[in-house]
């Protein structure tokens, strides 16, 4: 029986484009939830293999169906409609089949489908979900190979293109600026003037990227305390002491709701005098501005307002968008490899029969002459003949596995006939992985 032209896959999913957060959070699966969902999916007769990807922006189920209608119904009920009946509304879910489904996962792994183009965390999330599917026993040869192609597409996109290059959020833009000035964030002391939501969104990537010390100052002590709860290693200083803190800081991020500048040119000039020759990066995220703009004229001080960061983000997003065609090319290449692998499965029984027949002939011939050779040479004889058979069959086996398209099916029949391969060879032993 011949295999279908395309790998049989079914994808049902929803993401940030189709559903609001209120719906997405209802169909979000974590830890044990995911495990149970996979077990229940596998219990359905129409599903042979399953893979569940659930992140804050998407929930997608990939299955290798035995019966496509039955598989679709099972996924819909078990994963989506049971938890969020609203998803039945048109446009909330997407369904993709075969190569389209595979292409979608490869695109997700490459960051093409992310809310922020090229977002790097998705590949790690795909790997985590893959590990879970493996543990539960939900992934079989097809899903496993599809995931391998997805990892490869994701890794290549990051290595060979600039799809993940540059900062595309305020926090990372500050990190990027700091990295253009200082030799390493690990040696930087960061002062946050203001402890609101903006300060937190900037502090997170700075801490994540290894900022040595985090100091925070805020007019209201309560807010500063709340900040410390989220960042326990942060040091609190009173608002009045902020100028002392500037003297020892390398990066100063100001984000208060004050109407007047909280750092003036004169104050910063004074602070710079008592610093070493180390530069100072001041990022003013306040509107109206929290740092006197004329402070930008001070030597060795780099002052940037929110517009400059926005400019960096837009520039980086543009660069990422320019990379999309290159990433799509990689996705197509990996999809081709996946399809190729799938088609090669058809050749496996023939290759296995060919190898088995050759091995049988080798054993018969060796057995016939073995007694004529001294015992100490028997091992060498075995090794030599095995190596000969392996080398002779290497090229034909590779060629058979790499056939392309249905027209080559005739070649398989021809090979069977040519080598008089038995039709009753068992085919269960074919390694599909």
């Amino acid at each position: 029986m011949s295999l279908p032209a395309d790998p049989p896959l079914l994808l049902v999913g929803t993401d940030f484009r189709c559903s609001p957060i209120e719906i997405r959070e209802r169909v979000a699966f974590h830890g044990e939830d995911s495990e149970h969902a996979l077990v229940h999916l596998l219990a359905r007769p129409g599903i042979a293999e399953a893979y569940l990807l659930s992140t804050c922006n998407r929930t997608e189920v990939y299955v290798q169906p035995r019966d496509e209608d039955e598989a679709y119904r099972s996924v819909l009920d078990l994963i989506f409609l049971n938890r969020a009946p609203d998803l039945e509304k048109p446009g909330r879910l997407y369904v993709k089949r075969n190569s389209e489904a595979a292409r979608h996962l490869l695109g997700v792994a490459s960051g093409l489908e992310s809310m922020v183009l090229g977002e790097p965390e998705i590949l790690g999330q795909i790997k985590q979900s893959a590990a879970l599917a493996e543990t539960v026993g939900a992934s079989g040869p097809v899903v496993r190979r599809l995931l391998r192609s997805a990892f490869s597409a994701g890794a290549r996109s990051r290595q060979e293109t600039a799809i993940t290059a540059g900062a595309v959020s305020l926090g990372y833009a500050v990190v990027e600026l700091a990295r253009n000035i200082f030799s390493g964030l690990e040696e930087c002391r960061v002062l946050l003037v203001g402890a609101g939501e903006i300060a937190r969104s900037v502090a997170r990537p700075l801490v994540e990227r290894g900022a040595r010390e985090l100091v925070v100052t805020n007019r209201s002590i309560e807010r500063a305390q709340q900040f410390k709860e989220e960042f326990p290693l942060a040091e609190l200083v009173s608002f009045e002491q902020r100028l002392d803190a500037v003297r020892s800081a390398d990066v100063v991020v100001v984000s208060t709701s004050a109407d007047e500048p909280v750092l003036t040119r004169k104050q910063l000039k004074e602070a710079m005098k008592s610093r070493s020759t180390r530069p100072l990066l001041v990022v003013d995220l306040g509107v109206p501005r929290n740092v006197e703009p004329s402070a930008a004229k001070i030597d060795n001080l780099f002052l940037h307002a929110i517009d400059a960061l926005e400019h960096i983000i837009q520039r980086n997003l543009k660069r990422r968008r320019e990379e999309v065609p290159h990433v799509e090319e990689i996705v197509e290449q990996e999809l081709d490899h996946f399809r190729h692998w799938f088609h090669s499965l058809e050749a496996e029984p023939v290759v296995a029969s060919l190898q088995k027949q050759a091995e049988r002939i080798r054993q018969d011939e060796v057995a016939a002459v073995l007694s004529r050779f001294p015992a100490e040479t028997h091992a060498d004889l075995e090794r030599l003949t095995r190596s000969l058979v392996r080398k002779i069959l290497h090229h034909p086996s590779t060629r058979l596995r790499s056939r392309n398209g249905a027209q080559d099916l005739a070649h398989l029949e021809f090979v069977r006939e040519l080598f008089h391969l038995d039709d009753d060879e068992p085919s269960e032993g074919h390694d599909r992985s």
Binding site: L177, N180, F182, S276, T277, R278, P279, A296, D299, A308
Partner: protein, 274 residues
């Protein structure tokens, strides 16, 4: 050997040009394959360059700085070797384009000015004199490298100050690293120049007694030495920041070029051996 020397004279600028183009792709287009080509291309050119200088020594039996062409070739090689070390040590190629472009420029000048039969000068057989010339050329090469890093530092500094995130932003090492590289190169250059001045003074004293002190070339060199000494001292005392040191480094390079070109050609016969 003479065929090899002729061939190398032609090939060296071409190889450095090829390497500079590859490094250019790394810098301007972040091309992944160019990065894999650039370093081996530069290494190949450096190996050929070393072989070229060894052949020059074997052929003429004297230190290969008897002509302007040979001196420029040594400076080119020294800059190339310094950059190869920097790239290997820092594991980053982002400044390669600027450094290799300089190497190409020096080697191109050297190849254009090459003389088939340089004069055999007794002076180049003297160990003290050869030490003086070697140290001076090493110093010049280090100052060239320092000035290149100073230039890049000032460009990035200006971009960061003005919030212009264009050509240099994101493509170069951070300001602090550029400054460190610049200071490292200037320190090496300063030590070598000091050695060159001392060995030159000792040698000149034997031959000319006090007359050499009035030579314009020596006066310009001493002024250059004072400029670098002041820049390094003020930076060490934390009176100057990176920007001032970078400007001084570029001024120093201008003084060196003036001393090498204008003074050598028009004002001195004392240093007229090149």
């Amino acid at each position: 050997m003479s065929t090899f020397l002729d061939l190398a004279t032609l090939l060296l600028p071409l190889l450095y040009l090829g390497a500079a183009v590859a490094y250019g792709f790394v810098f301007f287009a972040a091309h992944p394959t160019a990065g894999r080509v650039a370093t081996p291309a530069l290494h190949g050119a450096v190996v050929l360059h070393l072989a070229y200088l060894v052949c020059l020594i074997l052929r003429h039996r004297q230190f290969p700085a008897a002509t302007v062409s040979q001196a420029l070739s040594i400076v080119a090689l020294a800059v190339a070797i310094v950059y190869v070390f920097v790239e290997w040590h820092g594991r980053e190629r982002s400044t390669g384009f600027w450094m290799v472009a300089l190497v190409f420029f020096f080697q191109l000048l050297s190849s254009v000015l090459v003389r088939p039969n340089p004069p055999d000068r007794q002076i180049f057989h003297d160990a003290l004199f050869s030490t003086h010339v070697s140290l001076a050329l090493l110093g010049y090469a280090a100052f060239v490298v320092g000035a290149a890093y100073a230039f890049l530092f000032l460009q990035l500094y200006r971009d960061l100050k003005a919030g212009r995130f264009s050509t240099f932003y994101g493509k170069l090492p951070p300001l602090e690293v550029l400054e460190r590289m610049m200071l490292g190169a200037l320190s090496i250059g300063f030590l070598a120049l000091t050695g060159a001045v001392i060995s030159g003074a000792l040698y000149a004293e034997q031959l000319y007694h006090n007359a050499w002190l009035r030579d314009p070339k020596i006066l310009v060199t001493l002024a250059t030495w004072v400029l670098y000494a002041s820049a390094l001292l003020l930076r060490r005392l934390r009176r100057w920041q990176g920007r001032q040191t970078a400007v001084a480094s570029l001024a120093g390079l201008c003084a060196i070029l003036f001393s090498l070109v204008a003074v050598n050609f028009f004002f001195t016969d004392f240093h007229g051996f090149l």
